[in-house]
Symmetry: C2
Subunit: 107 residues, 2 copies
DNA sequence: ACAAAAGGCAACCAGATGGTTGCGGAAAGG
DNA sequence: CCTTTCCGCAACCATCTGGTTGCCTTTTGT
């Protein structure tokens, strides 16, 4: 199940910061990311691999550097799971679920 | 931040199953939960403590046994975080965020 | 009164995880 | 050409984590 990888990826706070930053600054590199964080570039690289395994980010190598961008799709699965569980006792979340399963943007 | 605890709690698949089951069967006990899982009761008890730390479940002792129920609120924070990050590159998720921040049910 | 059943606490263990340092290779730039 | 810079790979380390077993307390039921 890919949802597994998504929740695993989101569990670490540093990884969430990385994802957050990539979402805000598409095309950023691992070195640039590490500059803003209290960890080394290699640590960031590891986090990027975990996020990539969950298909939350994708990197594209351009010559010497790799540019990372966020890919939204898997977050929907996670939101849908929470909405499904939540809907068992809170039907307001059920509305969220319907929204998450709603019309997809044309690919 | 309590969101931290939520993502941590949701990271483990067994714990998600536990939460799922509690959401479906309110008032269930740890022993009953363990019967349906390939782990011991103590392992389930540990998971329940993690879920309780994230305020996703609450237990009430009734004599010899403890009945567990799910508490929805913290899931909203997690969904809101994902929607916020997602909205940076996908405005369809921004609509979800508005929904999650919308009118709260009266407490 | 006493055995059975539920739960809590503690110790312990193997493996995953987040982090580091060190090195080697490939592209840029002078 | 040579240095710099960016990346990837590998080894290594400490800690966290999910799980177990063992024991003790409390409640229930006969």
């Amino acid at each position: 199940m890919p949802t597994d990888a998504v929740f695993t990826a989101l569990a670490d706070p540093t990884r969430r910061t990385v994802l957050d930053t990539i979402a805000a600054r598409a095309g950023i590199t691992a070195t640039e990311l590490a500059a803003d964080l209290p960890v080394t570039r290699q640590a960031v690289a590891k986090h990027l691999h975990v996020l990539a395994a969950a298909e939350l980010v994708a990197g594209e190598r351009a010559g010497r550097e790799t540019h990372w961008r966020a890919t939204p799709a898997p977050l929907n699965d996670a939101i849908a799971w929470m909405a499904r569980v939540g809907s068992a006792w809170d039907d307001r979340l059920a509305a969220l679920e319907r929204s998450a399963h709603g019309p997809r943007r044309a690919p």
